[in-house]
């Protein structure tokens, strides 16, 4: 049980995919213009990550190691399609905003990283704990980026006016703002944890 809690917390802070491992950055920068986008994108990724980790963990003794990567990709693509169709059907406005970044979950490094690096070697409960931790770690990270950009860019918090029109820095809504906020937040996380990230986990 203690091991499960540890696996879960690992993704939330110690190996946080966005701020500590600096992986799966494309969607974290692209969709984060408003708070609800961050939450929606995070939950979509958490779903795909958890479901594919469950399947990869269950199938870990059946899949031959030579063809494991294509197998994982098919599993991930299946769940991505489910999320894609679900969001298209029930949340059309959100689907419009998130655009191609929902189908692009299939090539999000976080999912393959956890499938290959954790779920393929761990028992089912541990794989679930790890996937949930990673997914929620990603969710809080990109929600934080979204909120900073939303407050500075349009002066609102989840659509509610909080700054009284004091901040309307258009640059925060444009691509450069995403890079700047991301850089500064990674720097702040480095200061808090006192263990700077030296390199990213992806290629």
């Amino acid at each position: 049980m203690a091991q499960l809690v540890k696996d879960f917390l690992n993704g939330l802070w110690k190996e946080n995919p966005t701020f500590r491992a600096v992986i799966g950055i494309c969607s974290a920068l692209a969709v984060t213009t408003a708070g609800q986008n961050g939450i929606a994108m995070g939950l979509a990724l958490t779903f795909v990550l958890t479901c594919s980790s469950i399947l990869v963990s269950l199938l870990r003794n059946i899949i031959p190691s030579k063809v494991r990567i294509p197998c994982y990709i098919i599993v991930i693509a299946t769940f991505t399609t489910i999320v894609d169709l679900f969001m298209k059907a029930y949340f059309p406005p959100l689907y419009q905003v998130l655009g191609i970044f929902i189908p692009l979950i299939v090539v999000n490094c976080i999912v393959l990283w956890r499938a290959e690096g954790f779920a393929s070697k761990a028992s089912l409960p541990r794989a679930i704990a790890d996937a949930l931790g990673m997914g929620l770690g990603y969710t809080w990270a990109i929600t934080l980026i979204s909120l900073v950009r939303e407050v500075l860019g349009s002066g609102t918090l989840f659509g509610i006016n909080v700054m009284g029109g004091a901040t309307h820095w258009v640059i925060m809504m444009l691509p450069p703002g995403a890079f700047l906020v991301m850089g500064i937040l990674v720097g702040i996380m480095n200061m808090i944890s006192r263990k700077p990230v030296k390199k990213t986990h992806c290629h």
């Binding site: 494309c26 693509a77 692009l104 090539v107 850089g183 720097g187 992806c202 290629h203």
Partner: protein
């Protein structure tokens, strides 16, 4: 016709640069932009695969997915499979035809499968409704834009090695901030192409 193709190139390389404005392909952008030499190799390999993918995506979309009404539920699976096997094929072909070329960028090829710029181009082509030639040019332009971003960044990063960066910002953080400044420069191209 030729004018449209020119606009597609300008749009994908400068105005809507895939790295700085569409946010695609950041993993290699952060990972292999340490040295200009590797950046050029990675850029060339990606451009090659992107052009091939664009052609393949066009054919699959208009001759298989569209006529049989499979787009909504098989698009993602079929595109990712085609990209993965295409990369594998390119790797084998390059190794056979030109070992020198393989030594130049062969090691980057396996990494390209999970590069979201490739999947992004495949998904954007049906959305934009491009024909075969336009799709090819779109893929080529995406690759050139990616190469430009990677080479620019690697040049700056080689200089950053010797500069005095605050302790907390060392590593990816300063790369993001530099990329933000570069993205601001690329905003200057807005309006250059009417697309």
């Amino acid at each position: 016709m030729l004018k449209d193709l020119f606009f597609i190139i300008v749009s994908t390389v400068l105005v809507n640069n895939f790295v700085f404005s569409r946010f695609l392909g950041h993993c290699p952008f952060l990972g292999v932009s340490n040295k200009t030499e590797t950046a050029v190799g990675m850029g060339m390999a990606t451009t090659f695969v992107l052009t091939m993918t664009a052609v393949a995506a066009y054919f699959i979309q208009s001759f298989i997915l569209e006529p049989f009404g499979l787009t909504p539920f098989l698009q993602i699976v079929s595109f990712i499979l085609v990209i993965a096997s295409l990369v594998q094929l390119v790797e084998m072909a390059v190794l056979k035809i030109s070992p020198a070329l393989y030594n130049a960028f062969g090691i980057y090829l396996p990494l390209i499968t999970t590069n979201c710029i490739v999947m992004g181009v495949a998904l954007l082509i049906p959305q934009k409704g491009y024909n075969l030639i336009e799709s090819t040019i779109f893929g080529l332009g995406a690759g050139l834009g990616f190469t430009l971003a990677l080479v620019l960044m690697s040049g700056i990063r080689e200089e950053l090695e010797f500069s005095d960066v605050p302790e907390a910002l060392k590593g990816p953080a300063i790369v993001f901030i530099t990329a933000g400044l570069l993205a601001m420069i690329f905003l200057g191209f807005t309006g250059l192409a009417p697309l």
